[in-house]
Symmetry: D2
């Protein structure tokens, strides 16, 4: 485990083969997609997601021993940390300036070095830096979940589990109805879209990368057909991986360790995947009419 100062740096080190994989946050149930990660997945050589986990990130206010709440003038944290504790800080730390750091871990380290008065970070950072927790569980929305993904260079996807997710990013051809047509490629094949997020392409106005998360695995025939259809229909397609869907932790306060990257898929979700029996039966029939075995 090698910490990186930013998600961009973590992904860059994977692209340079300095690390095998990077674990980065891609979406928060309150704040939405993480723009820097979505953009970094697209910009540069291909990377694929091989795992995901949803965790309820905890935030605590921590300082050097001896510091009291009313002595805090500067609080460091990452913008996502700030967004998720904004109301609490507005109520409790009005006198302090918020200093943006590259990560919440870095904020805690700066407090330890005396460069900041306090940090909003994960509780574990207090122990690692010899800091004292002044207030725990300060997230404005305790049920907020952050989805993290494990990203690596292109490789064969993990085996289908029956409850998988496939991520892809596409740009549409510049013509009327382009978006509705590509989404129809999914709906016609009964593929559920679980997330759609648009990001400016930055090089053309009114032009977007659409990040799509779909229920299913690229090894399944329906998803394979759909992904191939997107390839034909879209201007650009970035396949971003097929991987087991994680279930949210039962206890929203559970930590990364508790929820576990290997958390079992609920049986109910598994039942949804049919392994493509319907498609395979139709392909079998097609082979037989092509060969003249049946009419």
């Amino acid at each position: 485990l090698i910490p990186a100062t930013t998600t961009g740096a973590a992904l860059a080190s994977v692209r340079r083969n300095e690390t095998d994989a990077a674990c980065v946050p891609i979406e928060n149930s309150i704040e939405g997609g993480v723009p820097a990660v979505l953009d970094a997945l697209i910009a540069g050589p291909p990377l694929v997601i091989i795992r995901e986990v949803q965790i309820a990130v905890q935030f605590a206010l921590m300082a050097r021993p001896g510091t009291e709440m009313n002595m805090i003038r500067t609080v460091g944290t990452h913008p996502h940390g700030e967004a998720q504790t904004r109301h609490w800080m507005g109520d409790n730390l009005q006198q302090a300036s918020v200093v943006m750091t590259s990560s919440t871990a870095e904020a805690a380290a700066q407090v330890a070095r005396g460069e900041l008065d306090a940090a909003v970070s994960a509780p574990v950072a207090a122990a690692m830096n010899g800091l004292k927790i002044l207030a725990g569980d300060i997230a404005d929305n305790a049920a907020a979940l952050t989805r993290f993904v494990l990203v690596r260079p292109p490789c064969a996807p993990p085996e289908p589990t029956g409850a998988d997710r496939t991520s892809v990013a596409v740009t549409t051809k510049n013509q009327p109805g382009a978006l509705v047509t590509l989404l129809t490629e999914l709906s016609m094949r009964s593929i559920d879209l679980t997330r759609v997020e648009s990001r400016p392409t930055k090089d053309r106005r009114d032009s977007y990368w659409f990040h799509l998360d779909c229920a299913g695995h690229v090894a399944e025939p329906a998803m394979g057909e759909a992904i191939a259809a997107l390839k034909r229909r879209c201007d650009q397609v970035r396949y971003l991986g097929s991987y087991a869907r994680s279930s949210p932790p039962d206890d929203p306060a559970s930590s990364l360790e508790a929820s576990g990257i290997d958390s079992a898929v609920p049986e109910a979700d598994k039942a949804k995947g049919d392994g493509g029996a319907d498609f395979n039966a139709s392909f079998d029939w097609l082979r037989r009419i092509r060969s003249g075995t049946i009419g």
Copy 2:
């Protein structure tokens, strides 16, 4: 070549393996589909179309030598012959009753046997039965073309020519939008529908067999995918064959022999078929992302 009294009889003899194939009319450019043929293709063991030809059927009024126009009291012909010469007969044979026969050839034979005064049939029938042509080219619409198809028991389709047609008949599941959804399976894959014809299923009200003719060949990936999708989506699917599209004769008066079952496909039409390059490229890409060769 074995003549049959009706199209139904011709198809039945193929189903009983008494004949290798049957040549039956399926559609007329003025009268529309031939209901008896469309229904007979569905009812019974599977049959497939392997060839088509479009010809301008000629009609002549013929009688035994010595018969004059004003002596004719009964004229025999097949209902399609009647439909295509109705106006001419209304103008020229008002005094005569039209007798429906099982085929136009049968009408000529009955005239030869003295059972009818005259027949509306193909000119060749006059020579075969020793009759005299009283009036030629009596079709109301000289440009009318009839499409004939060569039908046989299930076999591998002829090789794709780049300008093919695929025929299929389907019944939809009884749910809203069922027809539009199945046609979308074709349009999403850029498959042109060249004919659609509905026939009552006879066993349920407001329920139809839809006969669809599409541009393309079942051996091509786009058509294969579409046909497999219809298999999944429809209540019943009857694959009725993939075969070279015939071009209409330049001269609408040309005979079956002249137009030729082997008539070359126009170069312009051939250019339209891309042999599925677009689909194959997308399948190739799919194979590579599935194996992890690319991202």
Copy 3:
């Protein structure tokens, strides 16, 4: 009530204002659409349907008193009569020639005049022409229903009943997906298509008039919006009327009189029409956002 020799003649007399309306068969549950009527509704000045009735047409074999079955050499009937009694006649009248007449009533009249030996016609024609019924109920499929429509020059449609049908005929613009797009105009507005029938336009190859029957009334907002959309999207649109849907007779052998043109609509069907409450609520909301009353 003025009998006409053919359906075409009946419609022509309405167009010439010689009659107020014409009652013509438009569809049979076994034989499908009646091509001559479908084509005649399109060719010529506009006509609209204001009523429909579904009846189980009965066929009887009738002859002059004294005629026995084995004496019959000629049997007159209309082609639809022939189609619906074909199997019975093949089993029972092999020795006879079938003579096509302009209507089944005309066949009975010709028998009375001694021009034919027997007629296949409605039982009532025997009484009207002093003929004797040799065999009743000879239709091959006793459950076959024929839908008749009452047609007149353009007029405001009858009031909506909550269980209505709207008929329209359209030609599509000559572009890919034209048919699926126009059907989508219906399905997007939850309008059920109860019948679709294609007829060659006769002036262009691979070009069709599509006759569409839809559940609903043109006075309802959903149907109004859909019909206006077809007007914009199609090459040609013929509005053919909105009228109460008839229910099929409980007893398939019931006569025209029994089933009645005024047959009540089943309560179950009526419940389906919502009078457009959903649409009207959305239009009301639209008016308010346009006026700035709400956001």
Copy 4:
């Protein structure tokens, strides 16, 4: 003109009727949508957009006179300011901590009060606070445009100009294909979607508010019909206004004043709006068939 500390505060003051309208940034061509504004438009009583303007926001590094680059330890700015100058600051101010402020104007004020060493803000803020510009034009992407909208309580929309935009936010019913179906309501009516942005609804997982920008005006028939259709089809609809589309400034460095809220719509864009002639003609035809004037 009353400055507000945050976009949320600006919108809240409009909702409390303390101000007539608020001018807030809604989208940046590089950074994408502004989540806080998108979310605030939805949460609370309705507000509508009546104007938009696209401007190239300029950023300068400013400090109190006497401060040199190498003396800067703290730089204040708003997160969007940080995002748009990240690379420049990484290259030129590695030794400094970035302090997040509620707005870029507030950062300049804090520098003037001696609470921060420097600010990244608009050049005009230097003059207003007696600061010196150490570096101008420091945005990483000089062509980046920010779209600002003028928001007020519900009112009738401005008159259509022929080149308008309509903004709406919707949540879909929780059923397969819900998104594709609602986008089809737009595409079927030839309405261009110029932006789509998803935001978590925060109360349900995998559930989103979709912010849609469409070309056209709610007073036009096509847009009216489409918006009413969304009302019927969506779980929730927030109409967010119809207003003239602004054209981007020719000179990306032009200021808000230069580009002007009243900037003329390009003639080319105007030509696209047909004022609904096509729709109005179809409605006129509908009125006539409903009244029986035509068939």
